[in-house]
Symmetry: D2
Subunit: 348 residues, 4 copies
């Protein structure tokens, strides 16, 4: 693949620290299923980073898996999960939530986000529906930070969501597949400690943020989900060599690496957006994180595709296609500049 | 953990070749979801090793996950899976098969194995049951090679199973979590090509056989399971960085490493069994692969546990406990000898 | 309950012919599970009424049950069911479809209906989505005749839907919970034979159309769903005394009773609509069958509720509520006139 | 069907009182979904009969449906249900429990029954299993009264089961599909009040005990299953015309009819068993209720089948078949005597 690599944030391997530590620890014997010292130590580092000393933490291998397992564990059969229409669980998980028996209660979105007001309205509509015993009850709220479109919930927005969720006794769950890119964005004002304080469950994404694979599910109030270990096993989500996840997360959280690992991606994405704007391209959404969505004229696609690997998000209209350039911790300045130059040469 | 490490075959990291290759390829960009060159190349190597040029191959991350995904994909809702009572799917997967909606139809076993005759009888019992429309139909057969107890199906036994399965149109599925330890056992006469020829689906275990994680599901007749990629996604079993599995399996199958990676484990297990027999211990089962099950007097357990990490399989009777010593590709001669000496010192 | 009974079309017992026949046959012994003479005879009558001599027919007890059982039997795990947003399966079945593991792919509607064009577009969107292997595939189409709002698919509309479904290999399924009220409406041009000719599965509603309970699932091409009997059993939808359904449907189809049993309801509903319009009320939808939806001023509700039992469909705006008057085979002229008079006395 | 009707206890319609009341109330309008006066009144009668004034009661339509709905509502995903190997849920419900995601944890039985000791042992085995987080936890206990083989739990046996269940916090659920035949048996010492006092949920069978269809699920401690109404709906188990069930159960419990409706069946079954013994037939089990299981020489089957409708329970050995004669509330003395005479004529 000699094209410039901007398809996704999972095109390369892992942060070098992780590989180094894997080699260093390779022949050390450890117990299985996440009960090893590496996992224990990684959990402790995450608790510290989240300022949440009692948090319960589990390491899973992927985002769809984490979402399906957590949501199935939290919901009763007569409950559904509120999410934005573009939410990953509503579109790109091949029906994993429904396979688990649960309805996704999709809400219209603005820039990929839903609001506290929408949650309040949805609960009110349920509570006042004369047929409510025949319909699915809102049972939890799912959001992602950043969202599918790279936008961010502000601390005010998250606080408002948290308040309505607590008032209505709806667990609030945050999908943090790309959380490092939120944390690295200057526009972001939501910290890990805020997430631990304001949500009931969230996960810290590893796969897209420097790990080979892995997501750390954080349950700030330990015991919220009884027998979650067995539920993880039952969903085929328990690694025998749990150490593989423990080692990676202990590196991601050593010296707060996770808080800065997204910096390169953010800087690079900003350059790309500037190049796009400067050359007359139309952004699909002006998001502050590592994904840049452009409404690209179809006539430019073939020549672009020859030199750049990007992601196709489907037609915008008869003559345009939404495409995505994703940057990540591994994006090089050289590649970013090459992409910017190419965009300038083509211009919109 | 300074105790001698014999708890399981997933206590260490990965074969050094794998780590070396991970480092070498780390910054190479590749597409996600298993469509990378590493996966394509690994699949080609596996097809060659299985003498099955048209096989369809998918990489998943763990055994329970592979079993639950394959079985859910194969069975109709009105069908169940025949398996031995001690089968992993019947006991140690926390109900993952039932979570998918399917009944495990458990058969009595001999040394962890079931026979062609038992399968024939089960199908006959179903077909001649006057109430058969009210009961679960046998819909596939699950075995593992080696079994939970480390025993092996001979080529004759596997051929007989295959014949009855084909006659009765039951897909035959083989769980190969520890397949490398079968392939390395001198007593074994079942090759990868035999598995590809005689079964409908099987998986080649990576996690316990030298990989960090990963199982390669082989479908000798491509297309047997329509839309299996989406089914994998739906079960949370699709890795974004599929390359991680492709790289590992391409190393495991380079120069037939997988066929020999179990040799050390087999040699070491044999020494342990000899030490046990020589010192009057009673084997729970005399199996030829990497797991050794002993009926250990309870009074010896505390002192043993001080020096050795082993696996507790529960009480045999009031005074004895079944314990397991597992060896693997990473077991050292030094540790094996230390264990043998300790067993001699204690003796039964 | 001395209020005028217009809440629903399931407020009374059964058509007198049914009760008479239940008494007549009460002590006749018959085999269980629908293998009795009454069921066989009812099925034959239905085949004749549908001009479909080879149809496979099963009797279930309710609409949600029939929908959940049929849809679960038809869909693969990676498929969903296209339906209108207001479709019964999308709203009022308490998530029964999702409990079975399937996503309802809701389409915007016009008067409760979806079009062939929408189905074609949805399939096209799926087929051209670059991420289609990560999303749910449209696997069947669900409509109801009449719809939730009492509107009707014309023969042209149904034919167009059937054509696109056959072209795209999507089974077309029709929920006929209130089918008798479609068949009795002068505006209707879709016969039972049309349904048998144009759909893959449909059900003829008994519960709301003169029976104590029961729905007849018709599969025009027998064998479309293998082992459907067992699937019915597995869903708890098989009656031991299947005769109860056979007897009822044989009465409903004796002398084509089912084709005319809705006449009274239609005549009565028309009178109510005329009274509403004449007195300045605003209809929510002007449907030609047995349900009349009105946007009622909230200030009239208390006095109305004192004298009439109606169904509350929730707020239309701050000052109005959508309510439903349902008529049925058992509605009396006396009650209809009393309701019309009351509406005139109140007027909007 | 002119053969003597002894196949099952669901070959005829309903007790005459029920039909009379259906006719009497037929045109009375009532609200749907079980909120009618007939249901309310039937529930009150059942509470009285159970000496359990606070019991929560729901009417469902069949036994498999009741079992699948209750068990799915009670169990967490990581739990299974303990039951005897021959339990209806383990064999004859076509996998309905597994379809709901739950494993049936089958225990060996004696005469169809399981003991308090077995339950205690199963829980102990789970609690002391070193791998317990990887296996299914016993989450409730299912028994039936009478059992599949017509045997009865004594009050002592039920009390012991209740005690271990309460100690271990396992809900105890009793399937009473044929409960009237237990209550009518002289050998029985378990009353409805005992069931309400000793169990967490049980159902009073209607279908096989004089109703057209219907089972009354009794939850002695109301609120044990939150949102059970919606769960019932979700399982397709909610009748629109709930009145049909309310009317029937109010007749079954008027003047304690349910306590005596089984008398005829018991008397008749005893005569049949005496005739069998007197004529040298071998009973499969000597049960005191309405089902008689005989090990019948195969050579007698054709001539028997010519004159009697009985149930085939499959081969006992090469030369014998287990068959069942079932009596019920509708069995006539005439038919019983004809069967006894025939058995004497044939003799074993």
């Amino acid at each position: 693949m000699s094209r410039l690599p901007f398809t996704s944030d999972y095109m390369q391997g892992a942060h070098p620290n992780i590989l180094a530590r894997l080699i260093e620890t390779n022949m050390t014997a450890a117990p299985g299923y996440g009960e090893d010292e590496f996992c224990l130590s990684a959990k402790e580092m995450i608790r510290t980073a989240c300022a949440c000393p009692d948090a319960e933490i589990h390491f899973l291998t992927g985002g769809t898996q984490a979402n399906a397992t957590v949501i199935d564990a939290v919901l009763a059969s007569y409950q559904g999960v509120l999410a934005s229409e573009s939410g990953h669980i509503n579109v790109h998980e091949a029906g994993a939530i429904e396979l688990g028996g649960h309805k996704v209660l999709a809400l219209p979105e603005h820039l990929g986000k839903i609001t506290a007001g929408q949650v309040r309205d949805a609960v009110h509509a349920y509570e006042t529906d004369p047929s409510r015993d025949h319909i699915i009850m809102p049972g939890m709220v799912y959001i992602s930070q950043p969202t599918e479109y790279g936008s961010l919930y502000s601390l005010d927005e998250l606080t408002a969501l948290s308040e309505v969720c607590r008032e209505k006794r709806l667990p609030l769950y945050v999908d943090g597949a790309r959380l490092a890119y939120a944390l690295a964005a200057p526009e972001n004002d939501v910290t890990l400690a805020d997430l631990a304080r304001l949500t009931d469950i969230f996960y810290i994404g590893g796969t897209k943020c420097g790990a080979l694979l892995g997501e750390a599910v954080v349950i700030p109030k330990a015991g919220t989900i009884p027998h979650f270990f067995t539920i993880i096993k039952q969903h085929g989500a328990l690694l025998a060599k749990g150490r593989l996840l423990g080692i990676q997360f202990s590196e991601l959280f050593r010296d707060d690496l996770y808080l800065t690992i997204g910096n390169t991606a953010i800087r690079s994405a900003r350059k790309i957006r500037e190049a796009l704007k400067a050359n007359g391209y139309r952004l699909f959404i002006d998001s502050p994180t590592n994904q840049t969505f452009v409404i690209m004229p179809n006539k430019l696609l073939p020549v672009l595709a020859e030199k750049v690997a990007f992601d196709d998000w489907g037609p915008a209209d008869a003559d345009h296609t939404v495409i995505r350039f994703a940057t990540c911790w591994a994006t090089t300045d050289e590649n970013t500049e090459a992409l910017c130059k190419l965009l300038a040469d083509l211009h919109a």
